[in-house]
């Protein structure tokens, strides 16, 4: 199964978008007089999760590009 680099790049937007919205939500919540720290912790865990997912997608993109370079030179 071959993937298009554009599709992988597109897939990367999803975790990046979630990370941005989560981080901005956490910043907003910290402005409250008594922030819900349990929820902020949950947000940080989600950010870590999304970041790992993004790193996995990036790895696939790198592998694909490496294969293409190798395939092109042989």
């Amino acid at each position: 199964m071959t993937e298009a680099p554009e599709d992988i790049a597109h897939e990367l937007r999803q975790p990046l978008a979630a990370i941005l919205s989560n981080a901005q939500a956490a910043c907003q919540m910290l402005l409250a007089s008594r922030p819900d720290l349990a929820e902020i912790r949950e947000i940080l865990e989600d950010i870590i999760e999304s970041e790992r997912r993004a790193a996995g997608i990036l790895q696939r993109l790198e592998n694909l590009l490496r294969q293409r370079v190798a395939g092109g030179s042989s």
């Binding site: 597109h10 937007r13 990046l16 990370i19 989560n22 939500a25 907003q28 989600d46």
Partner: protein, 216 residues
Amino acid sequence: MRQLAGTLFIVDDEAEMRRSLTRLLRSAGYTTRAYATATDFLSAHDPAAPGCLILDLALPGMNGLELQQTLTSTGCRRPIIFLSGRSDIPKSVRAMKSGAVNFLTKPVEMHDLIAAVDEALTIDEAERVASSERHGVTERLATLTPRERQVLGHVVSGRINKQIAADLGTAEKTIKVHRSRVMRKMHAGSLVELVKLASLVGIQPAANSHEVGQRH
């Protein structure tokens, strides 16, 4: 924190997007509801509830543009903010032409999203006010007798009682009575107000007064 009323209906198939958008918008003071598919949204949808849609373009099953069409075809004018994974120009043009309020590309900056949401809620509210006004005027219009309805058409075209009386073959005094009844029934305080109310329900002044009168 928020002055604008209404619920933000989020439709996105990715759980992490639903969660993060919900948190972000709730932290900014909005009320939200999130759905994984267009079908889930439609089955829970109450068109009478104020609010706007934050809609993922590339949903599995019924996609964002199809949901937009479905809503439009049922006469629902709920404002839509599209979120897209990529900057798809042809699709965004199509969405905007079909009445979408905005088209944002993921990742979305908080202040861009909030500006779009506030714009959409303002449009939704204005649309609801206009719609309820139209409804009220339609009800009042229905209380007019056929003759009063006829006089209304002449009055909003700027014709004076004497001309209307001549056109309808009756006494000026009678027209005066009809006119004041029309004003009262339509809850209009002035001619300008009456013209405005009439135009809300599609009664426009005749371009040429002779068309109304058929005097000769």
